[in-house]
Symmetry: C2
Subunit: 312 residues, 2 copies
């Protein structure tokens, strides 16, 4: 039975675009609950400037207060050397770096050309060497909402540049939900051929309803690591009203039903997911928390017993 590993991103990627500040206590409590659900990794927060992302201004405090469960890696997003120093002081288990494979998206999102991003991230990788492993998340790998197609070779070229710097893992992100399953299958195959020795994670959004279909295509192609966001929180400013990241619990539910070993305690995860709307103050896209697991049965209406008797 194939083992699938989940990385939870709700308190970083999920919360990042929420309009209302989630109190530090609530963040710590949520991470602590998620730590008991069987994740391989939790992306707790981001060591960026408080001005850029006010939601995550409490990064140090959150990292200092969470209860660390053995076997779970607590990773953090880091934009530069200053962020990396803060992350190391906070005893992060991994540094997650990010840049876009689309020049336009990198300019729009990180306000610099890709080459400048690469040079800055290289400094972070040098700093982290021998201290903590580094993961690089590459954005817009399945398409850019402004440029359109991002050629697979362009994605592989950036992945290769980071692989040569000795990173432990690569996360290939469908940042705005443009990927389709045939594209995912091709990308997964190419990644496994070239970077089979690295931790390869896929990061999907459900913006156009294809999230779990893309997970299926990736698993069929041998990918065993996925980012997910509790409740499907997060999303994309270019698609108002559409859902965001794939929902962790919906993905776990599907893969468990198919017989994969996810290492996750789905019942516990669903209990946490059902409290999420209270934390963020609005409904969230995740479906299984609303519908229940496919194995959760309902009582038959009273009329059925009567009809059984009548037709006996």
């Amino acid at each position: 039975m194939t083992r699938i590993h989940f990385n939870e991103v709700v308190t970083r990627d999920g919360f990042q675009i929420e309009p209302g500040f989630v109190p530090t206590d609530a963040k710590v409590a949520l991470v602590d609950e998620l730590s008991e659900c069987g994740y391989a990794k939790i992306e707790v927060t981001s060591f960026t400037s408080a001005k850029a992302i006010p939601m995550l201004r409490d990064a140090e405090e959150v990292m200092g207060r969470i209860r660390r469960v053995p076997g779970v890696e607590y990773t953090v997003l880091v934009p530069n050397v200053r962020g990396a120093e803060r992350a190391l002081e906070s005893r992060a288990d991994e540094l997650n770096l990010v840049m876009s494979t689309s020049e336009t998206h990198n300019l729009a999102n990180l306000r610099m050309p890709r080459e400048k991003s690469f040079a800055g991230l290289k400094d972070v990788i040098v700093l982290a060497a021998g201290q903590v492993p580094v993961n690089v998340s590459l954005s817009t790998c399945f398409g850019c909402p402004m440029e359109g197609e991002v050629p697979q070779d362009e994605v592989l070229r950036w992945a290769d540049r980071f692989a040569r710097l000795g990173v432990r893992g690569l996360t290939i992100c469908d940042t705005t939900g443009m990927a389709h399953p045939a594209q995912v299958a091709r990308m997964a195959q190419a990644l496994r051929e070239r970077f089979g020795a690295l931790q390869l994670t896929l990061h999907f959004h459900n913006t156009r309803g294809m999230g779990l279909a893309n997970v299926l295509a990736a698993v069929q192609a041998g990918i065993v690591r996925f980012d997910g966001s509790l409740g499907g929180l997060g999303g994309c400013p270019y698609a108002p009203g559409a859902s965001g990241n794939i929902s962790s619990e919906d993905a776990v539910h599907m893969l468990q039903a198919m017989g994969y070993d996810t290492g996750m305690d789905l019942e516990r995860l669903l209990a946490v997911a059902r409290r999420l709307p209270q934390i963020v103050g609005h409904d969230v896209p995740g479906q299984v928390a609303k519908a229940g697991r496919s194995t959760d049965l309902h009582p038959a209406p009273g009329s059925v017993a009567e009809l059984r008797r009548a037709f006996m």
Copy 2:
């Protein structure tokens, strides 16, 4: 390039559980718009009693007023011989019959045991012989929300009984969104082995987010016919807040992106889907109508041009 055929069920299956009556004019206008989108088939209405389903009390009038486009089949749901007579008078191109493979669900939904349903539907098939083709939709084929598992052999047994009566097609329905992709792959293979000469349609719900993953699994296993509901309308009284049928436009969008020939005019279909919330008076689950196609690009923010100059 594999040809995929879509059957639109929004005006029957989609509208059936809507709380507010959709005026006859709106139904006729919607079917007429859908007729221009490239569907193989449209399930227009149901010839049931007006008391049982008040929403579809205007079945005769709708069938009489729609503009029939050559190449599109106009099918109707028919519960019994009286309904079949009405459908034939209304010049339906096909009769679609329905029963559950789960005894409890059949009692709860059709208020009779499966054997009694079968006997009644057999009379309809005899009546239709030589006049119009018959399709049989089997409910709860991937699980019953009250009984739980419905063995695949039980589904095949009922399918076989109808196949022997000379029906043209079978629709295998995941009535409450319990199917997962591995189960779908197994079912699709078994159906194609035994009933390869029949029109085999799969009917999925997105109740637990697996709708398009199940479409993918079915297509991979050689299934080429799908039911879909515009906007993802319809659904299941056992899963409040969760989405219903798979969204036609989301499924078409995914399959077209993957390179399949769906015969559909997606742009036109999305324009119709975007008017649906006005018709039913509420938001609908379909995602692509909100997010746009993955090929719809967005302008870069003004800062990008400035940054390009600054870093030149």
